[in-house]
Amino acid sequence: MRLTFFLFFFFFFFTSKNSEAIQFESLETKNGIKFWLIEDKTLPLVSLSFSFKGGSILDPINQDGVTNLMTSLLDEGTQNFNASEYRLFKRENGIKISFSTSKERIEGTFQVVKPRLQEGFYLLNESINKAKFPIKEIKKVKSQIEASIKIDNSDISTIASNKFNNFFFKNQLIGRNKKGNLKTLANISRDDILSIYKNSFIKDSLVIGISGDIDANLAKKYVDYVFGDLPSKKFKNPISTLKELNRGKEIIEMKTPQTTVIFGQKGLGRKDKQYFAARVINYVLGGGGFQSRLYKEIREANGLVYSIYSYLMPYEYAGVIIGGFQTRNQNVGKTIEKVKTEWNRIKNEGITKIELQNAKTYYKGSFSRNFTSTLSIASLLMIVQYYDLGEDYFNKRDLIIDNLKLNELNDLAKNLFDSENLFFMIVGEPKI
């Protein structure tokens, strides 16, 4: 496997030519829930993707991990099913439900085969509105999360990434581990979980995308059934600005033949007007797989690493740029220097005309891959609403890309990328 993580991290995107033809319906239910739908009868199944703003950033102090614990318990006992009944019902009826917590949102995906539509939505409703959080299951899930934290703490790349978050964000709430830690997890009571449950699933912060074999009327009915009675409350995003971020480096010594390095600096929020431009610059620098400058210089020309990457981590109103690699202990210093050199090159020389052209055709061409499965379609519809990109996004996306000008991009590169602002988290036995 050349680069495993590509399989998992590469989303599926759509082509320009066809994006003009994308017909989705923007709908509203009786209870005032808005959602987008693409009806597609290719297969007898329905996929739904939804998200609530909030996420682990809202975990109260000393309750790190409570939101993640809550979402892990949504299928562990509800009003009409105990944990094992729930899972058997799911299995028997071809239903897939999953919840996940990230820094600033709670996400869910739901899929069901057409003949079991009713059973599917019935079960989803149980989780969203009728979760019971039995003490017995809380204990069990806590012990599972504890085991998973211990496994993370045995794995050098996860250690590096967690430590990076602690040091880089300088103890801001956003630097906390969404799973929490062994101490905070032990602190969390059933009441704490219930309170997060009540405050997380709020109508006003909900967005939904649906795709598959379901028409508008039926979709509206089921959306209301599951989400229609949720409470209404204004939501305020806590990550509106990031305070000062760390620079320089930290080293944690660990006995291992290969050192892991995670690095980062300030980036842009998804709602920043220059976000797409920054994305294109990063594509050239370290985001473009086998084509990026970091890959070509550090892996292909020098054989120093197996994988090296950088990506934009956009929150709604603020963001960071993060990168990473692993290399043999003796090569750590050399590789870091090469990363800095590429960072400076982007800043001082920008990207070339050809690089811009290739990036533009990449972003236009790759969009169509989003439309190969119902789940990827539903997720795309959800995320476009989440970031408020607008109902005309699919039509204007090509234009946004076409309008990117080399000099403006390179001005942005000059202002945004700065090797002086990079922070390197180094875990291993590095020779620097």
Partner: protein, 436 residues
């Protein structure tokens, strides 16, 4: 290194496309290359996969890692499309690509807008024979692969344990040798090794091309003939018919490492495979899913939910193999327990499940789940290509795959119990313990 991916896929593995006669085609070129076309016009996108029917299994003794090394080098360019041209082209059109090597096969794939099919086929065919490699390419890539080995295995005690368990479970067969290769043997691989491996094995009669997505049969026929059809066939891949002896001792492998914070127990079995015994493998797969797959399994119900001995327990059957298949079991105990004790708890429960707890109701639920899963598997372009490519490459027939559902329907609870009983009696296993 395919291991991780296999685990994920096999959890949901079952194939059935029996109702797809109009959208599923297969034909053979004169040089012996097989082509499979799976039509799906939802999005204007095509997935092209080429599956070579050899993996690390054909490496000569002392040359472990060669097949995977070659996979990396296949991206280094040809005379017509030099250096980075291939990946650069795919990137420019907004495509994605990757490759993977297993014990039994090596595969390359790309997903791209349908308008680019011709060029994609042309380039894939071109690198089957016209690769231009330099000594420098090979030396630099060797460093990359050593970093890969360090990243995936040497820095990860759990992977080191798996590697060593497999080498004991398969003392004779190539399944005991790591796909990525032993470190000291990778270090010894030369430019000449690579070149002769490429020339001998990269031949159309060793390959299956799978096209999935918005493609039609006539075009696929025309283009595959034009680009792949002109490549001369090579000698047929010689089949290695080595099997392993029964293991007559109880084998426990222990990996102790100071960085390990969570002890884990594992057990690997050698079992039947779909190729050696398709019906019983389907029965085993179904049965073992009821016993050990996910949080609705009976082992989980009894040992995690009810008795609260473990925080996690589970496992799966992986039978898409040319040689013997595997069953994997794992558990995390809440309190410190030795490996023997964990094994006894699980095996006693396993016995009880076979004798008492595996009811016909539970069996029917699993059958339904299997059926619904086949619908999900068609949702996408790469997944169906993966299913056909892998199954055909390990030696199943086209019909085996298409009649999967039919076979499944004929399996009874009794068949499932027998398959599980056999696993229970199976002594060809190794137990591993990861601890600090």
């Amino acid at each position: 290194m395919r291991f991780v991916l296999l685990i994920i896929l096999s959890l949901y593995y079952s194939v059935s496309f029996s109702d797809e006669k109009d959208t599923l085609h297969s034909f053979k070129l004169k040089n012996g290359m097989e082509v499979v076309v799976i039509e799906n016009k939802r999005a204007p996108v095509i997935a092209q996969m080429i599956w070579y029917n050899f993996g690390s299994g054909i490496e000569k003794t002392g040359k472990s890692g060669l097949a995977h090394f070659m996979e990396h080098l296949m991206f280094k360019g040809t005379r017509k499309f030099p250096d980075n041209y291939y990946s650069n082209f795919i990137s420019k059109i907004g495509g994605s690509e990757n490759a993977f090597t297993s014990y039994d096969y090596t595969a390359y794939y790309q997903v791209f807008p349908k308008s680019e099919l011709k060029m994609m086929m042309k380039m894939e065919a071109d690198r089957m024979t016209n690769l231009t490699l330099t000594k420098e390419n090979v030396e630099i890539e060797k460093r990359v692969i050593l970093e890969e080995r360090f990243q995936r295995i040497e820095s990860d005690p759990s992977s080191k344990l798996d590697e060593s368990m497999r080498s004991i479970l398969f003392p004779n067969h190539y399944y005991g040798r790591p796909i990525i290769g032993w470190r000291h043997e990778i270090e010894g691989l030369s430019y000449e090794d690579v070149l002769s491996f490429y020339k001998e094995n990269y031949k159309p009669n060793n390959a299956i091309l799978v096209l999935s997505g918005d493609v039609d049969l006539e075009k696929a026929k025309k283009l595959s003939k034009k680009y792949f059809g002109k490549i001369r066939k090579g000698k047929q891949e010689s089949k290695l018919e080595v099997t392993d002896p029964d293991l007559n001792t109880n084998i426990f492998v222990k990996m102790q490492h100071p960085t390990v914070k969570q002890p884990i127990w594992k057990k690997f079995y050698r079992t039947i495979s779909y190729k050696s015994d398709i019906d019983n493998s389907i029965a085993l797969d179904m049965g073992f899913k009821i016993v050990a797959s996910g949080t609705s399994s009976l082992l989980y119900q009894n040992l995690v939910e009810d008795k609260k001995i473990f925080s996690v327990v589970g496992g799966y059957f992986q039978g898409l193999t040319k040689g013997e298949g595997n069953v994997y079991l794992y558990a995390i105990s809440k309190e410190k327990k030795d490996s023997n004790e964990i094994d006894k708890i699980i095996m006693d429960e396993f016995k009880k499940i076979i004798n008492e707890k595996l009811t016909s109701e539970r069996f029917e639920i699993e059958k339904k789940k299997y059926f619904f899963d086949t619908i999900y598997k068609k949702d996408g372009v790469l997944n169906p290509a993966q299913i056909y490519g892998e199954a055909l490459t390990v030696g199943l027939a086209f019909d085996d795959i298409n009649k999967w559902q039919e076979r499944l329907n004929n399996i009874s609870l009794d068949d499932v119990k027998k398959a599980l009983e056999k696993l229970y009696e199976n002594k060809n296993y190794v137990i591993g313990e990861l601890s600090n």
